[in-house]
């Protein structure tokens, strides 16, 4: 007997020896509100259909009714684990539209903020990944160390998660010398802790057995499916927008693009762990080179860009984050904004490389692509 199920525009056939399992939307390992409908034969996964939209707030439509400066706090709320990078992408797009030149100090502050946020985001990935494979200790460590970075960002922007720090033409506020000293101290401390992480995970046979060879994403598939960020680099493709298409002042820093040829969950974990170190390198260099000066260019109070369209992209912790803006040149509100978010592409690729694995491994693979549902649904 064949049963037919219809939902969300999908039609799925279930035979006698198969079952249809609903994972989520309220599930601890779905990182928000993601529903996965899984067709299984015994323990084996045959088909996955991600159902999204549970966190939809209509950000793109809201943006059409807000002036350019009012949109910045809204971009915070898309990928809430890397708000700084969201701000960065949006602000860069508007500046390109206006043809603004940013003071040096502001550029450096932006890079420091974005990289600190990347460290915080990757630490949270380590925490939640540990949680999903059943290691509660890792969860505690990750959150503990993320707290140190959040304290720094709190001093910088005034908030712990939704910073609203960058402005069109610069940044919101300046930081003093003590901040940089504290920042370097925290980075030194974090370096010590990272050694603990390496001992905790990479020498751990249990962890390796649980993650190696799970969810293999081949490089050619990854490129075809539009996967970006650490997930793509874990498949061995050397692609980082900070290097390929340098924005802001990223061409001045010396850092490596981390790749791994493992293509599996383990590789994705290692790439992120190593990227923390690279980000720390960038922050250190930025603190060394930061000049004195203004933190904001002269920008009119009401921003009314000329008619035109622009697409700017940044490397967010999850991949390529692009912002498309069309301005009609008449009003102080954008005519249309579109965000190209990395998590969406990564989740879309997810069903293709996880056919035939066990259900328990599916959770590991799902955790390793590090998606944020606020980003996907917007």
């Amino acid at each position: 007997m064949v049963l037919k199920y219809r939902f969300e525009g999908y039609e799925i056939e279930v035979k006698d020896n198969e079952i249809l399992l609903n994972l989520g939307p309220q599930h601890p390992s779905t990182h928000g509100l993601c529903r996965l409908v899984i067709k299984m034969e015994g323990e084996k996964v045959k088909e996955i259909i991600p159902v999204i939209g549970y966190l939809h707030r209509g950000v793109e439509k809201i943006c059409e009714n807000r002036s350019y400066i009012q949109i910045i706090p809204i971009t915070d709320r898309m990928d809430y684990l890397s708000s700084m990078n969201n701000n960065f992408a949006y602000v860069l797009a508007v500046e390109e539209l206006l043809g603004l030149k940013i003071p040096e100090r502001a550029e450096y502050l932006r890079v420091i903020a974005a990289e600190l946020n990347r460290i915080a985001s990757h630490l949270l990935f380590i925490a939640t990944f540990g949680m999903d494979i059943g290691s509660f200790t890792a969860f505690m460590y990750g959150f503990r160390d993320r707290e140190m970075i959040l304290d720094l960002l709190e001093e910088m922007a005034g908030a712990r998660m939704l910073y609203n720090y960058m402005r069109i033409g610069g940044v919101k506020r300046d930081v003093g010398k003590e901040f940089f000293e504290r920042c370097l101290k925290v980075l030194d401390k974090l370096e010590e802790k990272l050694k603990d992480y390496e001992r905790f995970f990479l020498e751990n046979e249990l962890f390796i057995n649980r993650t190696k060879g799970i969810g293999i994403l081949k490089p050619e598939d990854a490129i075809k499916l539009g996967v970006t960020g650490p997930n793509l680099r874990a498949s061995g493709v050397k692609y980082d927008i900070r290097r390929v298409d340098p924005y802001s002042i990223y061409d001045r820093f010396d850092f490596n693009v981390i790749t791994d040829n493992g293509c599996d969950s383990y590789a994705r974990f290692i790439v992120r762990l190593k990227e923390i170190k690279e980000s720390m390198k960038i922050v250190r260099q930025a603190i060394r080179d930061i000049p004195e000066g203004d933190i904001s260019a002269r920008v009119p109070k009401v921003i009314r860009p000329p008619e035109g369209e622009v697409y700017s992209r940044v490397e967010s912790p999850r991949g390529e984050l692009g912002v498309y803006i069309y301005s009609d040149g008449k009003s102080d509100k954008p005519y249309r904004i579109k965000f190209r978010v990395p998590s969406f592409a990564n989740l879309s690729a997810f069903p293709h490389f996880n056919k035939g694995i066990m259900l328990a491994d599916l959770i590991v693979s799902f955790a390793s692509i590090d998606i944020v549902l606020g980003d996907i649904d917007r």
Partner: protein, 143 residues
């Protein structure tokens, strides 16, 4: 060779030493209502309104993305001008904190710096009514 094989066998025990090390560390959690975390200088908390400085221009109400700020009549105020003291009706901002997302655009846009942020963060309440902060309540200094 033998040692390597042996190490591989016991490698899942090694991470235990990391956790063991943490056993002797100071706890990092705090007992919240009794102890409090030290906040940074620039932490954004509840607004504070200096009614002497506020000129009732309404810039804050206009820039608020969530329209959380409304202007409320604040009686008649004496204003010093070049021609002498004049009396005129004035409005002050009141904030519906339940709608506020603490983006700080109102504080930045204030021309006389009458609005500022305090570090008071315990605003949670059982009633929706008490989330409305009139200009009189905003003018109270909170720690």
């Amino acid at each position: 060779m033998k040692l390597k094989e042996f190490m591989k066998k016991v490698s899942h025990v090694l991470p235990l030493f990391v956790t063991l090390k943490h056993l002797f560390m100071k706890p990092i959690t705090i007992q919240y209502p009794d102890e409090r975390l030290k906040l940074s200088k620039g932490t954004i908390g509840l607004h504070y309104l200096d009614t002497n400085k506020c000129i009732g221009c309404g810039t804050c109400a206009r820039i608020c993305p969530n329209k959380a700020i409304v202007l409320e009549d604040a009686g008649v105020k004496e204003i010093k001008t070049a021609r002498g003291v004049i009396r005129r009706p004035i409005k002050h901002p009141s904030i519906y904190i339940g709608r506020c997302m603490f983006c700080g655009l109102c504080v930045e846009s204030c021309p006389t710096k009458a609005l500022e942020f305090t570090t008071f963060y315990e605003i949670a309440s059982y009633e929706r009514k008490s989330l409305y902060f009139s200009y009189k309540e905003l003018a109270k200094r909170r720690e």
